[in-house]
């Protein structure tokens, strides 16, 4: 017998091959079970998020509107006024647009690139409409006569700048920056930097809500984990009932509590903290946002902390104390380090949820309650600048995914516990 004798199955196939086949079959079986959901999510969810990206950088509008112009501009070096050929094709493109009544959009778009473009295009439009341009003569001379701005090379450079089909403009706008005429990144003037304020405010609120949730969640998670089961089950309802209650119901109750004639103010007056005629405004500012969001997100902090604390044996603390540590030292050196996975899970969960929040801030936060999500919704529904909304959404998503990645490294997604 040779040393390479193979173990055969009853069909005469080597065992190794047979096992591999079975393994492969099992793999396919498992994958087929996941496939429906995976396909469903890919089509309805993941690809549309990808589409947001193409939408956010898409800048083919001008390219599609002025096809001949861009073709003839390729030979133009962009240093001096373009040759007759460029003028002529621009005139031809524009004439088609004017007939289709799409010239207005071009004017608006080019005006963003170079101020004053819209008004000189309107003059050109009047001439085109009245057929006052003689196509047998030099178009360049005739257009240049319409307005002296047509003789300025910057305006033609502005058209050339819109040539690439993709642009990062929307992302720059989301950070209050823009591309100036030389193609450098510049900051918008200080009084117009609204987005940076929103990003910072979103971060600030998410951060502080996380801290408040941690400070309030840690003690009660500890209490729940150390109390005997029959008491802790009862107290757990205090955590779980808000968790299961509609977000809008909880926001409504905070609106009632925090209003000027509300119970919180009544209480402050009763204990003499404030005078009856100078009740502080606690809603429609940051105080309201912090209080309401902390209460709403607190269960998401308590539940992961509780599930970690539940696994810590109480004898560890006793051992710490019996080895001479005071209760404080035993807590700090033994108990606290063991709860760090729970702290990480809870804080990241609350932070991720808080950073994308907008219902509660919009209702109780007033003017200072607008967060980046509100701005995205605003551009989706009011200004209809969907590419800008997509760009801001993806910037937010990038931030969240980084945190999600850290979360995954630290705790693992499969360790998320619910209830």
């Amino acid at each position: 017998m040779s040393s390479e004798t193979k173990i055969l199955t009853t069909d005469g196939v080597p065992l190794e091959v047979s096992l591999k086949k079975a393994e492969k079959r099992n793999k396919i079986k498992a994958f087929l079970l996941v496939a429906p959901l995976l396909l469903f999510l890919l089509i309805t969810y993941i690809f549309p998020i990808g589409e947001m990206f193409t939408r956010s950088i898409d800048d083919r509008m001008v390219t599609n509107m002025l096809p001949k112009t861009f073709a003839s501009m390729e030979k133009w070096d962009g240093k001096e006024l373009p040759p007759e050929e460029v003028y002529r094709s621009f005139y031809e493109d524009y004439k088609i647009l004017a007939e289709k009544k799409e010239h207005g959009k071009l004017g608006q778009r080019l005006n963003k690139e170079k101020n004053g473009f819209n008004s000189i295009l309107k003059r050109l439009f009047r001439k085109v409409k009245r057929n006052q341009i003689d196509e047998t003569l030099s178009i360049k001379e005739q257009i240049n006569k319409i307005h002296r701005n047509f003789t300025k090379v910057e305006y033609w450079q502005a058209i050339k700048r819109t040539a690439p089909p993709y642009t990062m403009n929307k992302y720059l706008k989301g950070m209050d920056m823009y591309l100036d005429e030389d193609g450098n990144i510049a900051q918008v003037s200080e009084d117009r930097r609204i987005h940076r304020i929103l990003w910072l405010r979103t971060l600030e609120i998410a951060l502080f809500v996380t801290i408040f949730c941690f400070l309030m969640g840690y003690p009660i998670a500890h209490l729940l984990a150390t109390l005997p089961m029959k008491y802790s089950n009862l107290l757990m309802i205090c955590v779980l009932l808000p968790f299961w209650t509609s977000l809008l119901v909880r926001t409504a109750s905070w609106m009632i509590l925090l209003q000027q004639q509300g119970l919180v103010n009544d209480f402050f007056v009763m204990i003499g903290l404030v005078a009856n005629d100078s009740r502080p405004e606690m809603m429609y500012n940051k105080v309201g946002t912090y209080v309401a969001m902390t209460q709403i997100l607190l269960p998401f902090m308590v539940l992961p902390l509780y599930s970690v604390m539940k696994t810590i044996s109480p004898s560890l603390m006793r051992a710490g104390k019996s080895l001479g540590g005071t209760p404080f030292v035993a807590f700090w050196k033994v108990y606290f380090p063991l709860t760090i996975p729970g702290i990480g899970a809870g804080c990241l969960l609350v932070f991720i949820l808080a950073i994308g929040y907008y219902i509660t801030p919009a209702l109780v936060g007033g003017a200072s309650g607008t967060l980046i999500s509100n701005q995205i919704a605003f551009h989706m529904k009011q200004t209809l600048d969907w590419s800008f909304a997509s760009a801001m959404g993806l910037m937010l998503l990038t931030g969240v995914l980084v945190i999600y990645w850290i979360y995954n490294k630290l705790v693992g997604v499969d360790n998320i516990k619910l209830g």
């Binding site: 999510l41 003690p219 959404g393 619910l418």
Partner: protein, 284 residues
């Protein structure tokens, strides 16, 4: 939490502070829910406790806002409630079917690329709702499902499946696979094995995931705001509009009903969790 008699004074003080802090936090968590109850029975139109209510005068209380909720003229709540229930029920069924199948696949030790697939399936839970809303809206607008019930149901299936996947995967982690092998060796086909053996054992996980999916759909407002037309308004959308325009006590009547609903859901979820733990042999 009785302290041993040898406890030093300063730790005794600290212990009472700790209890006080915990009491405050529990109060902070639960109290806001109870404000809504009495105010929804207010006889007046204002959202503050009237003198009569503070003195427990029976005339200060009335059911007028509940009547308004049900019989009020041009009342949006009936349609909204119907829509909410239809959407939530179908979304839950969809989430349960897709999520359970996926969880079964993911729990198999033969599953390739487990990490990345799990991350993809969970992603709707992690991605901020506003971004999900924008992306789903683009898709639904493209395929012509915007402002339809179907579109919203699909959107809520997307948002609900992660919960089912998580709870069922957790249930399956304690699942003894030898029982399915035993069934197979006794001549049962895979479908029969699933229906007769696996499903009854993982049912608590499936239902509790379904409850999460139901609540997610029932409470979801951000995505619906993008997708809904006038005919698809749901309870949360109506509440959102109401809270933004003017806080009427009718909203509180609705809110009270929702709190009762969530209490029922909480009770069933708790019962299921205990049953599931018992079945998995985790006795504490």
């Amino acid at each position: 939490m009785a302290l041993p008699s040898y406890t030093e004074t300063r730790y005794r003080i600290w212990h009472y502070i700790y209890i006080a802090i915990c009491t405050f936090v529990f109060f902070f968590l639960i109290a806001p829910l109870f404000v809504i109850f009495p105010l929804s029975f207010n006889a007046e139109e204002f959202l503050v406790f009237s003198e009569g209510m503070k003195n427990l005068d029976p005339d200060a209380f009335s059911l007028r806002w509940y009547k308004d909720m049900i019989y009020g003229t041009k009342n949006p709540w009936g349609l909204a409630a119907k829509n909410s229930f239809i959407i939530a029920i179908f979304a839950t069924i969809g989430s349960i079917i897709l999520g359970t199948l996926a969880a079964l696949g993911l729990s198999s030790r033969h599953m390739p690329y487990k990490g990345i697939i799990m991350a993809t399936l969970i992603s709707p839970m992690i991605v901020p709702l506003i971004i999900s809303g924008v992306a789903i809206f683009f898709f639904m607008a493209k395929v012509g499902l915007a402002a339809t019930h179907t579109g919203i149901i699909f959107a809520h299936i997307i948002l609900g499946t992660p919960f089912v996947v998580i709870t069922v995967t957790a249930t399956l982690s304690g699942f003894d696979h030898s029982v399915t092998r035993a069934a197979a060796s006794l001549g049962s086909n895979p479908v029969n094995t699933f229906m007769k053996i696996t499903l009854p054992l993982i049912l608590p996980g499936v239902i509790s995931g379904g409850l999460f999916a139901f609540v997610t759909s029932f409470d979801e407002v951000v995505v619906v705001l993008f997708l809904a037309g006038l005919d698809n308004t749901t309870i949360p959308v109506q509440m959102w509009t109401g809270l933004r325009e003017q806080l009427s006590p009718t909203i509180l009547a609705v809110a009270t009903c929702l709190i009762i609903l969530s209490t029922l859901i909480l009770i069933s979820a708790e019962l299921l969790r205990r049953r599931s733990e018992r079945l998995r042999g985790i006795n504490r």
